[in-house]
């Protein structure tokens, strides 16, 4: 009997990933296709980012994928001078939170932006970014 293949795509997410298997592994597939996706409950319409396989509102597990599109507004950010193990080579970098139409998204600012560019209230878009060693993430760029 053929060995069943394990879908562990989630281990590709981010510089250092601590999760390899999740019911929302397709999130990685969508990132590879250029899309940052959340989920929306088919039953009650609740929207989620990060995406969830199960709805905390109505307890349904029948979810649709929903793309995080358009412009978001930067709510807050911080530039780190120290990082955890595995992130030393990327320092300094800026983490941030942005409000999009239906959801908030936590992530990193693009390294292409200068400190002066990054201000609370600026317009951003969330786009996938390819990392070293076949890993993938998303980042905020100036909209």
């Amino acid at each position: 009997m053929a060995k069943q293949e394990i879908d562990d795509r989630f281990k590709k997410f981010g510089t250092v990933s601590f999760t390899s298997i999740s019911k929302v592994n397709d999130f990685i597939g969508y990132l590879e296709k250029g899309q940052v996706m959340g989920t929306k409950c088919k039953k009650c319409g609740m929207t989620f980012f990060p995406p969830r396989a199960d709805c905390s509102g109505c307890l349904s597990s029948d979810m649709d994928w929903m793309e995080v599109t358009g412009e978001g507004t930067l709510l807050t950010f911080s530039k780190l001078q120290y990082g955890p193990v595995g992130f030393e080579g990327e320092l300094p970098y800026t983490i941030a939170l942005a409000q999009f139409k239906d959801v908030k998204v936590f992530g990193r600012m693009s390294k292409e932006l200068s400190d002066a560019d990054v201000v609370v209230g600026m317009k951003v878009k969330a786009l996938p970014v390819q990392l070293a060693n076949g890993k993938i993430s998303y980042e905020f760029q100036k909209a």
């Binding site: 601590f18 950010f77 911080s78 001078q81 120290y82 983490i95 936590f106 993430s137």
Partner: protein
């Protein structure tokens, strides 16, 4: 209805690199608390052992510690809500006494952060929040509180200097607290001098001086039924209100960034249960793991309106002589923050204040005290209201 009291408090000195094992560290706070309660181990019916497990080498520390403290064969168990573990322990002990299960419970909080190496510690720090969705971006505790600081500054015009004022206050009292890890003075000038360590950038807008230090330490609180309190204690301190709350671990799941919803929710519950308002609080201990955390606590607990926390510290209203003294034991910023021991240390300070036994740190004749203890980045929040006869 019968009341529940705190009749004994203890705390080890908070230090860097405790020269002993976790059971020996726990013993220091336990001995002080039990002697304070004029009890022996035999008078205690159960124990709750609190720490953050990622720093422990010992798996399931409760049994090991309970045995070392002479608390067998009484029941014991382990409890954690990260940095708020021991105030959660107090709430659970309160409930068990109130339910009539036990008459005297030991809540023992400890953390030997130096149990693991610096490299191991760095690795664990990377797993401090949502490991699936946030840790892959390289997040750290200071950066999360920095996000709150930035949001507070953008919304209310709070400045880096306002935050530095909170550290200066902490150091004022850290110097007179012989249990504190950091007992040196801190001035505003240090924050203004780019060469000074205090001004070193960590995660903008937070600097070294805005962050509390790791430490090893233990705390112990003896909780008793009214009946038992009256037998053992001349100065019982009554638990008037216990409030607790939780929220989304992921920042994207939250709506408030200039404050912590768990503190708002937990304080509402605690004030209601105690039948008081924020104006009735005479002395408070708040969870100042970072300066911005104390600023937000002023507002979330109702000591100031949202955005007006900066006015309290600018006017020195949270100093010992002010209208609402906060962290006049040096807070986490000066005492250090041995995760599992912190809540118990805060409770001890308020108990000593209400008994009039806080020495140089004593505020004038307080009747009601409050403890605000937060776990994670506002993930868990406990607010406890204490009062005296």
């Amino acid at each position: 209805m019968a009341r529940v009291a705190i009749i004994g408090v203890g705390q080890s000195k908070f230090v860097r690199g405790y020269p002993g094992s976790i059971r020996e560290l726990a013993f220091e706070a336990f001995r002080e608390a039990v002697q304070d309660a004029k009890m022996t181990s035999k008078d205690i019916d159960a124990s709750i052992i609190c720490s953050a497990p990622e720093y422990d080498k010992q798996r399931s520390p409760a049994g090991v510690i309970a045995e070392y403290l002479g608390l067998t064969p009484q029941p014991t168990f382990y409890l954690e809500t990260v940095c708020s573990s021991s105030s959660t322990g107090l709430k659970v002990a309160y409930s068990m006494v109130k339910a009539g299960l036990h008459d005297a419970i030991c809540v023992l909080g400890f953390q030997k952060m130096s149990e693991i190496t610096s490299a191991e510690s760095q690795e664990r720090m990377g797993r401090g929040a949502d490991i699936q969705w946030e840790s892959p971006f390289g997040t750290m505790m200071p950066a999360y509180y920095a996000l709150h600081a930035r949001a507070h500054m953008a919304k209310y015009g709070t400045t880096e200097e306002d935050l530095a004022l909170i550290r200066v206050k902490a150091a004022t009292y850290g110097q007179i607290n012989d249990r504190a890890v950091y007992q040196k003075p801190v001035t505003l000038e240090m924050f203004k001098n780019p060469q000074d360590n205090m001004a070193g950038p960590v995660a903008s807008p937070l600097r070294v001086g805005d962050c509390c230090a790791n430490a090893d330490g233990s705390s112990c609180i003896i909780v008793a039924s009214e009946e038992k309190a009256k037998v053992f204690s001349e100065k019982p301190v009554w638990i008037l209100g216990v409030g607790a709350a939780s929220t989304a671990v992921n920042m994207a799941g939250r709506d408030l960034f200039s404050g912590l919803t768990v503190a708002v929710e937990a304080s509402k519950t605690a004030y209601k249960m105690a039948g008081i308002s924020s104006r009735d609080v005479d002395v408070a201990e708040v969870h100042d793991c970072f300066t911005i955390a104390e600023m937000m606590a002023y507002e979330n607990l109702g000591f100031a309106k949202p955005g007006e926390g900066k006015d309290l510290i600018r006017a020195k209203e949270t100093y010992k002589e002010g209208s609402i003294p906060v962290n006049v034991d040096g807070g986490l910023l000066s005492k250090g923050h041995p995760i599992g021991a912190t809540g118990g240390s805060q409770l001890r300070t308020i108990v000593l204040q209400l008994r009039g036994e806080a020495g140089q740190m004593q505020v004038s004749n307080p009747e009601i005290g409050l403890v605000h203890n937060i776990g994670g980045v506002g993930l868990y929040g406990n607010v406890t209201i204490l009062g005296r006869d």
